[in-house]
Symmetry: C2
Subunit: 247 residues, 2 copies
């Protein structure tokens, strides 16, 4: 509870300044330290629990943003936008923009695992949000710097032509790239385990034995559309946007 070592504290102050926050803000430095510590560097005080909290923080932040700025959208559209914004890929890209990798403590095993870097960055980013939320019990340390990014991204998703016709866009892509059509698998959720009517159906879209994306909806069509859109955007960012990969 007493904070973190002076050298680490000075390092973390640099990060806070990068976020545009004041280092005299009400920040739990001990939690910030923990948020930027991977399990390979500390078996106990690592980012896992903060990431669990941060996951719901970013979902709430996106919901508030959609409520404030996209009131005309349906919840189906909101779900599609949120799935892009809270994806590992997007969070890792945001983390990389703030140079989070330079603050993340890793043990020797993880340092060698370059493949795992994207998910580690995304996880640490969520943990950072968890630590900032728990510092003040509200979004006041998060909204000022993160909401502008997410607002731009939400607007981009909405103007993306693929957003209007997800399934056709995905099909075109898989045909062009793999000469194959994607395969949809839909199931109706058993009522007691179903979160709500908007999640009545779950669709998965598969290609060559790999799950490309999942989506939920109140109809089979809506669920397939959501799955296709998630898959499409992720494949696109993999293929045509090498800058979004984090090295």
């Amino acid at each position: 509870m007493s904070g973190c070592p002076p050298q680490r504290r000075r390092q973390l102050e640099k990060l806070i300044a990068r976020l545009g926050l004041s280092t005299t803000a009400q920040i739990r430095w001990d939690l910030l330290d923990q948020a930027l510590t991977h399990s390979s560097a500390a078996a106990d005080a690592n980012y896992e629990q903060l990431e669990f909290a941060g996951d719901s923080v970013v979902r709430l932040l996106v919901a508030v943003l959609l409520w404030d700025n996209h009131a005309q959208g349906t919840v189906g559209e909101w779900s599609a936008i949120r799935s892009v914004l809270v994806s590992d890929r997007n969070l890792a890209t945001l983390a990389a923009q703030y140079g989070l990798d330079r603050f993340l403590l890793l043990g020797p095993s993880a340092s060698k695992d370059t493949q795992g870097q994207e998910s580690r960055l995304a996880d640490a980013f969520e943990a950072l949000l968890g630590a900032l939320y728990l510092s003040t019990s509200d979004l006041s340390l998060i909204q000022p710097w993160l909401t502008p990014h997410l607002q731009i991204q939400a607007a981009q998703v909405k103007t993306d032509p693929a957003y209007q016709n997800y399934k056709a866009a995905l099909q075109q892509w898989t045909q062009a790239t793999y000469q194959q059509l994607p395969d949809y698998r839909v199931q109706e959720n058993f009522s007691q385990s179903r979160p709500n009517q908007n999640e009545r159906f779950t669709a998965e879209v598969w290609l060559q034995g790999q799950l490309l994306g999942t989506g939920k909806g109140r109809s089979i069509k809506a669920a397939e559309k959501a799955a296709a859109y998630t898959a499409y955007l992720q494949l696109q960012s993999l293929t045509i946007d090498p800058q979004s990969t984090v090295d």
Copy 2:
């Protein structure tokens, strides 16, 4: 924005008093009205968007509660506890305890659909949380009355013997009730659509063509365990706890 009709306002004040909150608190009465309006009663100003927000509010509330009170738990245990606490069944039960059905505006079509009542109550309950969150931009109108319920439930989940050995408990139950073993289907999530390492695998547990529950985990075993536990608790509450059904 200007609030809601005086008669409805008086009705909603009763609900706020039931929650133990002051009617002079900073409450967005127009949002509260909307949260308790089903789509069959109003095509536009109904609870759907507030439910979308409320879903992340309750997840955050549970995460904060686990952080504050169950710091020794692993994130796998936290996930299992959260899936029970945020389930439709649990939220509908809480809604019923506060008599939410008496405040929920329904159109004629929904009034006849008694089967849909549980999910409507759960949805409206989430929407209520969304409206209260958006009233103050924090959890201050929610934590005082909801956290005590969730704390008791989290403790119950932890002391449930089934929580220690989920798969065996589920198997025993399906054998006794249907003379069949449950069927597990596990898939590894494609890295780009994977939220994080703790969700590397997704398991589904099926019985007689019905999906009983899903779970995620960083190993196949952990994912199956999480799925089994969700399924087990939901089946138990269906069978042995008739009071939890909402009529």
